[in-house]
């Protein structure tokens, strides 16, 4: 038995321990240690992925304890992919955010890094675990570290945002825990695979129904499904950039993963779609989330805030898609976990660069940005097109599966919402591009008069941030054109 599944999670955990010590003793070593531990995590996640692709699902028994008593990590293609995604984004973001951290939390960089690693450990644990209670623990590790991180942000507004986040987050976690309690009472087990074998025998049980609903609402709160989203925009917008960049792409997506896992691997598709009569209502919730998120984004004046509402909108995509009840919709939802993480990451990377240079990122402050930060803007534009769903960027392809799934399920309202949100996002981003491109307004009338020639000098973000942004931007297109391969090798083997 190899130890890759554990290593992916343990490497950043040990990193956090050492970083906590060096931050006290000799701060110079903190960043290299953190980076190395995440690097090891990425390497392990890659090996893990390769192993799953070649030899199928891995069952890893923590410390050799046998399930259902011991904690089991069960790695199939889906969580191997999401683990890889989390590890890579955590690593890249750390490399990109070095200067942002120094700028924003110069005196607390050590604690930032430790919490950052713990946050990543929590996310990876959520993804890796095959145990329902362990899932709760990992969600709490993630959440507690993110409350702390949010509070490290904007001096005036972050504390309140963090407090708000804690209150609502705790409710979500409690609901989930309560649900797990019911499951344990009914089945006597906490191991996902074990519970899954027992669910078909107790389909009619109303306590199981309550358990399911509690668990699902718990993760919905954590993923900010409209109208349970109210904590998210402020928390993400006022968090320090280095953290916003990782929490925005990953936290909500990992919670969508948790929902998919609960639906497929714990309760089972048969129970969720045939025994329960909830799917249609949830697809409507997804539809409403998409539209509400989009319209709320339209009314934002601050770029970061606007992006946070786009996250709310995108959550609607994935929840709706997963609940369409067909393979296409689920494929789209899972593909969108990957794609949305990448494009949100790219957007927040770009915004982080802007914050580094401009401090404030109200949309009106972005004048002349194509000239000032051409590379950052190039990445931003590409990511924006991906959100809008322009091929060959990846956003198009997950939308493609989602709309196909909606057609197949006859959920035309959901398909319409997806298309409308594309249009809304186009408006949102072109509103930003217009400010960056046209303002400050040239004095002349174009022909022959050229206020723009000597308008703005270039002032780009640090090279490390730009390189990471470039890598992620390219990956947006790569994930798009290889989406057929991803579906065939990762998603369909998981679903079938």
């Amino acid at each position: 038995m190899n130890n890759y599944p554990a290593l992916v999670v343990v490497a950043p955990l040990l990193g956090a321990l050492f970083a906590g010590i060096t931050a006290w003793v000799e701060d110079r070593f903190t960043f290299p240690i953190v980076l190395t531990s995440l690097g090891i995590g990425v390497a392990a996640a890659i090996s893990n992925m390769a192993l799953v692709l070649t030899s199928g699902t891995i069952q890893y028994k923590m410390a050799g304890w046998m399930p259902p008593m011991g904690i089991e990590y069960r790695i199939d293609t889906l969580n191997a992919m999401v683990m890889l995604l989390v590890s890579v984004i955590a690593f890249l973001n750390l490399a990109a955010s070095y200067w942002n951290v120094r700028q924003e939390t110069p005196d607390r960089a050590g604690s930032f890094y430790v919490m950052y690693l713990l946050f990543v450990v929590g996310l990876l644990g959520v993804v890796a675990t095959g145990d329902l209670f362990n899932l709760y623990v990992m969600i709490e590790i993630t959440s507690l570290s993110s409350y702390t991180m949010v509070a490290l942000g904007d001096k005036n507004r972050a504390p309140l945002a963090a407090l708000n986040y804690i209150f609502i987050g705790v409710i979500g976690a409690s609901l989930y825990l309560l649900g797990v309690g019911y499951i344990y009472i009914k089945t006597g087990s906490l191991n996902m695979a074990d519970v899954a074998t027992m669910v078909p025998h107790m389909k009619e049980s109303s306590s199981l129904l309550v358990a399911f609903i509690l668990c699902i609402i718990g993760v919905w709160i954590k993923m900010a499904l409209f109208p349970l989203h109210v904590w998210l925009p402020n928390a993400y917008a006022y968090a320090p950039v280095g953290f916003a960049r990782i929490v925005a792409p990953l936290m909500t997506k990992v919670m969508v993963y948790a929902m998919v896992r609960l639906m497929i691997s714990v309760f089972g598709m048969d129970y969720v779609f045939n025994t329960l009569d909830l799917a249609e209502g949830v697809v409507w919730m997804g539809t409403i989330a998409i539209l509400a998120g989009g319209f709320m984004a339209l009314s934002q004046k601050n770029l970061k805030k606007m992006l946070t509402y786009i996250i709310v909108c995108e959550i609607g995509y994935m929840v709706g898609g997963a609940w369409l009840g067909n393979e296409l919709g689920m494929t789209g939802a899972i593909l969108h976990i990957l794609n949305d993480a990448l494009m949100t990451f790219a957007l927040f990377l770009a915004v982080g660069n802007m914050v580094y240079k401009l401090d404030r990122v109200d949309i009106a402050d972005l004048q002349g940005l194509f000239g000032k930060m051409p590379w950052t803007m190039a990445g931003f534009v590409l990511a924006a097109f991906s959100i809008v769903g322009v091929p060959p960027t990846c956003g198009f392809f997950s939308k493609w599966y989602l709309i196909l799934g909606a057609f197949e399920a006859g959920a035309y309202h959901f398909a319409a919402a997806l298309l409308i949100s594309s249009l809304i996002c186009a408006v949102l981003f072109f509103k930003v591009f217009e400010v960056c491109f046209f303002e400050p307004m040239s004095d002349g009338h174009g022909d022959g008069h050229h206020g723009h020639d000597n308008a703005v000098a270039m002032a780009e973000a640090p090279a490390s941030s730009l390189v990471v942004l470039a890598i992620v931007s390219v990956s947006l297109i790569a994930a798009g054109v290889y989406s057929g391969t991803i579906v065939d090798t990762v998603i369909l083997p998981f679903l079938r």
Binding site: F437, M441, S442, D453, T485
Partner: protein
């Protein structure tokens, strides 16, 4: 027919994309930058031409890039129709690049590197659309083209271009996301494929009402074709520098629109399928309305480029009308008009731009007597206008001739009437320009009787395209053969 696998279509698409970093890095040395533009343009054209013999021989060149889903890959297939369009676009790109130099430098425009870079991107996407093997790939390049053109439309970065750019995007992106995308997914959902084929992809999945809705979603959705009521972005886009209006808004962008409609009619529905439901008439009717109304509007436009824009809207609908006639001659005429209109209309835009560079005049009412100052330009204008009206000895006559034959073949007298009326209207909005340029009294003339043309780099291209328009009357073969070949494939096969 043979399918020949080759990487050439990809190279033809990528060459102008690959040159963009070079263009950007040589922004301080305009001559080097322009040289690279020419190199890329020429290589692209030669690559297209190198595929011509195979296509003329009735073969198709294929290349699959990425497998996305069964029946929906990102793939190229060069057939006669795609070749016809690619030939027009890639040859005129070279001429336009030359013209751009004269125009942009003549006006000392800002942001020239950005301009040539996005121009290269736009032409890449155009060729990609021409060579697309299926609807998904076509949609991909269609969208890239929409977005690549935006910075060109908005080039002046002033209040007016901001409004025009916004209108451009609203119409183009709004219709492609709002109509084409769902229509495409509908097709895929119904049939499981998006591959173009002469027999169409539908067997019995569609009832007549849903087929009608689907067809209209495509016809209106490809708003680059300027079908009314989704046309008003085109006059607005005239705010762009003239090379953009000339190549993109008379050739590349708008023709991608009609090309896409032609592809959907011939490759997604299939001519016979549409004929069996009698759906050609609806599209022909819509196109006819656009032809007549836009020609009428063109009469009243005083701004030179806006008049040309409305003329373009009408002429584009000729192509749609031709395809919708669903008769061999009609479709041939429509496809042929892609080429003939391109050479004629680009000449006219070049003339409008040359006059602007030389005199700063944009309005036709200020151009009385311009013929004495710019005789070469106005002679070229005359030839271009003849071609658009469809009079011999110009190429436009050949395509209109086929269109007229097509209406007779299908016994569609109303369409014949539309075509002839439109020709009269075309004459009515072009000939006064020419007349006033030369035939005026000394008191009326607004220019001195002294020859003072625009820079050579502006004049040479318009002479070239005018000569080609003229020559195409005598030698329409490459385009006529390609159009005939394409039609034989669509109807005979």
């Amino acid at each position: 027919m043979e399918l020949i696998p080759s990487i050439k279509p990809l190279l033809a698409v990528l060459v102008s994309l690959a040159v963009i970093p070079v263009l950007v890095s040589s922004s301080e040395k305009p001559n080097v930058r322009e040289a690279w533009t020419f190199v890329a343009g020429t290589v692209k054209f030669l690559l297209v031409v190198s595929m011509l013999p195979a296509v003329m021989g009735g073969n198709q060149i294929v290349l699959t890039l990425f497998k996305i889903a069964p029946g929906a890959d990102i793939a190229f297939r060069v057939d006669a129709l795609g070749m016809l369009f690619a030939l027009v676009a890639s040859s005129l790109y070279i001429v336009t690049s030359m013209y751009s130099i004269g125009y942009m430098r003549g006006l000392n425009e800002h942001g020239q590197t950005r301009f040539v870079s996005f121009f290269a991107l736009a032409i890449s996407a155009t060729i990609g659309a021409a060579f697309s093997a299926n609807l998904l790939t076509l949609y991909l390049f269609y969208e890239i083209l929409s977005l690549a053109t935006y910075p060109l439309v908005a080039h002046h970065q002033d209040a007016k271009s901001r409004i025009s750019g916004r209108r451009y995007l609203t119409f183009i992106l709004g219709t492609s996301i709002g109509l084409v995308l769902p229509a495409m997914i509908w097709c895929y959902h119904a049939t499981g494929t998006l591959e173009f084929s002469a027999a169409g992809i539908f067997t019995d999945q569609l009832s007549k009402p849903s087929a009608t809705v689907l067809l209209l979603m495509f016809v209106f959705g490809f708003a680059k074709a300027g079908i009314m009521p989704f046309h008003s972005w085109l006059p607005a886009a005239m705010v762009a520098p003239t090379p953009v209006s000339a190549l993109l808004h008379a050739v590349a962008v708008v023709k991608v629109g009609v090309f896409s409609i032609a592809r959907v009619i011939t490759g997604i529905f299939g001519i016979e399928f549409l004929a069996s439901f009698d759906l050609g008439a609806i599209v022909a009717g819509i196109a006819s309305v656009t032809i007549l109304v836009s020609s009428g509007i063109a009469l009243s436009q005083d701004e030179f480029k806006r008049r040309l824009a409305y003329s373009t809207i009408g002429q584009l609908s000729y192509i749609v009308l031709g395809a919708a006639l669903l008769s061999p001659k009609g479709v041939t005429g429509g496809l042929l008009h892609i080429a003939m209109h391109a050479f004629g209309k680009i000449t006219l835009f070049f003339c409008a731009g040359a006059i602007f560079v030389a005199t700063g005049k944009k309005y036709l009412s200020q151009m009385v007597g311009i013929g004495y100052r710019m005789p070469v330009t106005m002679t070229a204008f005359f030839i271009g206008a003849l071609s658009i009206i469809g009079l011999p000895p110009t190429g436009g006559f050949i395509s209109k001739w086929h269109l007229v034959l097509g209406t007779l073949e299908g016994d569609q007298m109303v369409m014949l009437f539309v075509l002839l009326t439109s020709s009269l209207l075309n004459a009515a909005y072009f000939m006064p320009i020419f007349y006033k340029a030369f035939f005026c009294t000394k008191e009326e003339a607004m220019f001195e009787r002294k020859v003072d043309e625009a820079p050579m780099m502006c004049v040479i291209p318009l002479v070239i395209t005018a000569l080609i328009s003229f020559a195409l009357f005598f030698a329409p073969q490459p385009f006529l053969d390609l159009a005939t070949l394409a039609v034989n494939g669509f109807i005979g096969g």
